[in-house]
């Protein structure tokens, strides 16, 4: 192994940088009415109209995803705590004052809870999309054809992800054992590109979902995926020897998320 430094922008940072800043007064629920493709190409935060603030968020989050220290090697600008402080500073400069009854809540743009959520969600969505895009490489799909959903971070209030996985599996139209499985020790495993992942991230099924086919699937979920290799996938009966998982395009994944909206418009 050799350690060195890359200089070209990294994929997750590029995914974030490609988004256009979109100031909006829409709430999270209203934002869901936008097509997934529009949401995927936009950087926004519910009820945040200040595009200067969104620019700052986007630039600083880009720094977390691809930190390039200045001369002297100072890395604090890429530390989420310092990004949070920068956001608070700019809100203070603009004279932002939250409504008294909302102070400290998620609706207070200057609260730790709100800023942490914006940073974490955007960092993880770019990382999750990068992970998903990487898994579409045919050689990697061949060697690691499945994902396992698992709890990566502990939460005080834990949502029932086992039940969600079961519901998403049922919504996919495939019975348990057909492309997805819950093992006797409650491991949640499914072939990559199985529609269960679309269903798991769909706000049609779960109010807190992010409408993506990749982790973290829902706001502040604490969930992530790990790769499952072909040997284990064949043992579980999810794939036969020589059977391949077909790669999928990003446009196809985003189209799946817009499916319901398209059906509503058509109706």
């Amino acid at each position: 192994m050799i350690l060195d430094q890359p200089s070209a922008p990294l994929p997750a940072a590029l995914i974030l940088a490609a988004k256009s800043v979109f100031g909006t007064e829409l709430t999270t629920a209203e934002l869901r009415q936008l097509a997934a493709a529009i949401r995927a190409q936009s950087f926004f935060s519910a009820q945040t109209t200040d595009e200067h603030l969104l620019d700052l968020y986007q630039a600083r989050i880009g720094g977390i995803l691809h930190p390039v220290p200045a001369e002297g090697g100072v890395t604090t600008p890429f530390n989420p705590a310092y990004v949070r402080q920068a956001v608070k500073d700019i809100l203070r400069e603009t004279g932002y004052q939250p409504d008294t009854e909302l102070r400290g809540t998620i609706q207070d743009l200057s609260s730790n809870a709100r800023i942490n959520l914006v940073i974490k969600t955007n960092v993880e969505m770019a990382q999750g999309q990068g992970l998903w895009m990487q898994t579409q490489e045919p050689a990697l799909l061949d060697e690691w054809p499945a994902w396992e959903l698992f709890r990566a971070e502990a939460r005080v209030k834990v949502r029932d992800w086992l039940n969600r996985f079961r519901q998403a599996g049922a919504a996919s139209g495939n019975a348990l054992g057909h492309g997805w499985i819950i093992t006797p020790d409650e491991r949640m495993i499914a072939l990559k590109n199985h529609p269960i992942w679309d269903e798991l991230g769909s706000s049609d099924n779960f109010n807190d979902a992010l409408d993506t086919s990749w982790p973290p699937f829902a706001f502040n979920s604490g969930m992530w995926v790990r790769d499952v290799d072909r040997g284990e996938v064949e043992k579980l009966g999810l794939l036969q020897r020589n059977q391949q998982v077909q790669p999928r395009s990003l446009a196809d994944a985003q189209a799946a998320m817009s499916k319901t909206l398209a059906q509503e418009v058509a109706a």
């Binding site: 930190p67 989420p80 402080q85 500073d89 790669p247 196809d252």
Partner: protein, 225 residues
């Protein structure tokens, strides 16, 4: 940032076989991905094992680092990937950090001190996020940021005369950050899997992948949807 690159030395035989069937790039990619997968699993495990000792709100440093393992790329002579979470290389390799490189949130000038959290409440936060800290120098050098003393009023119910009783409590005086001019951090080799384990993971998956390509498995690993 940590960049891990797999060199072809050590598995020339494997790669030569792969070259014969036009799979050298894919085999190298599978090897790098196997190492990336091992590193991710290792970091997620550390996140479970290593909650901060101050019992502050968790920042999930190691889980964040695991998620920042980027996808491998091939470069003709091997394959590699990077881990971008800031601080991981410092914990792994250790080293000397000195104040002066950054900009102080208090003065706007170059930083004079590094701030080290002293309490659970300050863990994962910056001094700039507190508006009630006071600098107190220490005889031995450096200093500390101490919460200023504040009087808290607790009001009781209204009395018959229309006034309210109240009691007061003095809070503050707690050291929130230690300020030092430099730190020397010892390396922690357990932050990453061993080179042997990484090499073994790469070899295991490269061999499995190649044997399928050489055997009865599909010769074309690029199935189209």
């Amino acid at each position: 940032m940590i960049a891990v690159r797999l060199q072809s030395s050590g598995w020339e035989g494997l790669l030569a076989q792969a070259r014969e069937i036009g799979q050298e790039g894919n085999v190298a990619l599978v090897g790098a991905f196997a190492v990336a997968d091992l590193v991710r699993r290792h970091l997620f495990s550390l996140d479970e094992e290593r909650a901060n000792t101050m019992r502050g709100a968790r920042t999930h440093f190691y889980a964040n680092a695991a998620k920042s393992v980027h996808w491998p790329v091939t470069n003709g002579v091997g394959a590699g990937f990077v881990i971008t979470w800031i601080g991981l290389a410092q914990r792994w390799l250790g080293g000397h950090i000195e104040a002066g490189g950054g900009t102080s949130s208090a003065s706007g000038g170059p930083t004079k001190y590094l701030a080290i959290p002293a309490r659970a409440e300050s863990y994962g936060k910056t001094p700039g996020e507190f508006d009630d800290l006071e600098f107190v120098p220490r005889k031995a050098g450096g200093g500390m940021l101490v919460q200023t003393l504040q009087t808290q009023f607790v009001y009781g119910k209204k009395t018959k005369s229309g006034t309210r009783d109240y009691s007061t409590t003095t809070v503050g005086g707690l050291v929130m950050f230690w300020l030092v001019t430099s730190v020397d951090q010892a390396p922690d080799p357990d932050v990453m899997p061993t080179e042997e384990d990484m090499g073994e993971a790469a070899r295991f998956h490269m061999e499995k992948f190649l044997s399928r390509r050489l055997g009865s498995g599909p010769q074309n690993p690029d199935p189209k949807p």
